[in-house]
């Protein structure tokens, strides 16, 4: 056990995966000597060499496309897209090829690749460096979409993503890269994909979120507890496939649901969660489903970006609205 930041946990998982499986290789912009702009691949180039850590030319679509060819040949490429704002160029390759290779060939060719990318805002970065496109990837059949919210989950989920036989889009909350620190046992144990993680138990209201917003969700739960409102906090962790059962079970107990995400509200991933609950747990709902989200505008430049990010105040207010509803 050692205390690691989230980005160090990512680095440890990558190192572990490369050590245990020679088929695991890394490619992306500046992932080599530079170790990635956030240092996620730090030291890997030195340890594993240029045959397994490849700096690519500046071409996102082909970073994804080349990974597909490598994966079809039995490699387990872990491609880094420097920021999710530049991952939109990969959607065509991920949706039209990576996600379908298995189904299209009836299992003859498969695509065990991981597309890693830092996501989310709040780091006062330039435009395009604070995107939250998870819903777009979670809409793609054949793909798995994962977003960790702690060093331990980043480590365990990334290992599972790399070992997964199908393409996984792994979005890392940039805001937590250094801010989130925690004990991580570098024991090579993966965490199962497709399971939500209940981070805090509560009887009265269920707060569901993922990625960096888990921080605010937990803070909100703390504040609510001060008023004797017991909030349950669930980290979705794997957006696709979604562990609906855990969410339904919780809402079944609390009857109140607050969904928190930083992406633009409309068609954000939280909409799918709300739809599933409204489709299966309507009777247990004691109040309208609350969504605390980013707005349907572009993420403002850094000077005013704070206004865009959902905050604890808003989450607490939503939970209170839900509690007050009768």
């Amino acid at each position: 056990m050692s205390e690691l930041s989230l980005v160090q946990a990512v680095n440890a998982a990558l190192k572990r995966a490369m050590s245990e499986d020679a088929a695991v290789i890394i490619l992306g912009e500046d992932v080599g000597i530079d170790g990635g702009v956030f240092r996620a691949t730090e030291g890997l180039f030195k340890q594993f060499g240029e045959q397994r850590v490849l700096d690519t030319p500046l071409a996102e679509a082909s970073i994804a496309g080349v990974s597909i060819g490598l994966a079809a040949q039995g490699f387990r490429p872990v491609a880094e897209i420097q920021f999710t704002g530049f991952a939109y160029s990969c959607i065509d390759q991920m949706l039209n090829h990576a996600s379908r290779l298995r189904s299209r060939t009836r299992g003859r060719l498969t695509c065990p690749m991981v597309l890693r990318s830092p996501a989310g805002g709040g780091i006062k970065a330039p435009e395009h460096h604070s995107e939250s496109p998870e819903a777009m990837f979670a809409h793609i059949p054949g793909i798995k979409a994962v977003m960790p919210s702690s060093p331990a989950r980043a480590y365990g989920l990334l290992l599972s993503a790399i070992r997964d036989p199908d393409p996984v889009v792994f979005l890392e909350p940039t805001r937590l890269y250094r801010a989130a620190r925690g004990e991580v046992a570098d024991d090579g144990a993966g965490m199962p994909l497709g399971r939500c993680v209940t981070l805090r138990q509560g009887r009265e209201v269920t707060i569901v979120s993922w990625g960096a917003m888990i921080k605010e969700a937990l803070e909100a739960a703390e504040q609510l507890a001060a008023d004797n409102i017991e909030a349950e906090v669930i980290d979705v962790a794997t957006l696709k496939p979604l562990d609906t059962a855990t969410i339904l079970e919780s809402v079944g107990r609390t009857g109140r649901l607050v969904i928190v995400y930083e992406a633009p509200m409309s068609c954000g991933f939280g909409a799918e969660i709300a739809a599933r609950v409204a489709g299966r747990a309507i009777t247990s709902l004691l109040a309208p489903i609350e969504r605390v989200t980013g707005y349907d505008t572009m993420m403002p430049y850094l000077r005013t970006e704070a206004h865009y990010m959902p905050n604890t105040v808003a989450i607490v207010a939503a939970a209170r609205r839900s509690m007050a509803y009768a």
């Binding site: 071409a59 679509a61 496309g65 060819g69 079809a72 298995r102 189904s103 299209r104 009836r106």
Partner: protein, 348 residues
Amino acid sequence: MNRVLDIDGKLVGTMPEFACHPDEVLQLYRALVLTRTFDAKSIALQRTGRLGTYASSLGQEAVSVGAAAAMRPDDVFVPSFREHGGQLWRGVTLKELFLYWGGDERGNDFAGPREDFPICVPVGSHPPHAVGVALAFRLRGEPRASVCVLGDGATSKGDFAEALNMAGVWQVPAVFLINSNAWAISVPRARQSAAETLAQKAVAAGIPGEQVDGNDVIAVRAVTERALARARQGRGPSLIEAVCFRLCDHTTSDDASRYRDDAEVSRHWPAEPLMRLRNFLTAAGHWDKAKEEALLHECSKAVEQAAEDYLATPPQPVAANFDYAYAELPAELAEQRETAIVIAQGAA
């Protein structure tokens, strides 16, 4: 422009080694004829509602047949959607091709070339895959190469330029072959790029590029073999532009008379690849009317049989589409699978 046989089948270039063995050339000829036979049957099936939209390779048979013939079995073919000849040469069966064009994914589950890529419909999006495959070979130190065939229109797609450039940087064993058939549906070559040749697209990536007469199967095979030899020797990727002409409509849903003169098409007929090779073989005394008839008979028999087998193949069960979505069926999809089965049974 590389050329071995002229329009009349006369030797105008130096005969490559392989072509000194009549059997080799006869095999190429057989492949061209089989491809054209498959082509005719596919169109007939489509016209009678028994096949989906089909992209004919009429007049372009020599491109992918020549390329495939230059490959080794363990190389990997990364085709576009007009390379029936190359796929057949690689061992994809006629029935598999019919299944694919009939709208059945099993047509991509080749019993033969297990590592070959399936047909790529999104134009120009497959070159990166060929780079990835070639990179895999280089990283494993295997003497193998990938061969990617794409159209002239595909050369305008960003993915192609990105892939070519990456192939150059990594010096991977990949060969990119352009089926330069003068048209991208209704867009003529001249409106596709101001580049004088498409072979010169290679200059942007710093790799070698050359043109070959795409109607001369011997030349296509020879040029591709040279490129593959370079690739295997670790001397990097290359680009080949096989210049030919799309004698057919773009697909069975297209009506080329809307945008090009029949006269232009007629002008290109004399250059088509089968006749010149037949003339060459005849002149060399390796071919005659009887052999021709026997071959045509053999090919149509094979094609008819395959068509029958295809038509006799029951469609896949509803579940198939779910069972191949992931290695392991996620819970949420298992539910949908059940629903789909129920709905398919007409209930709901």
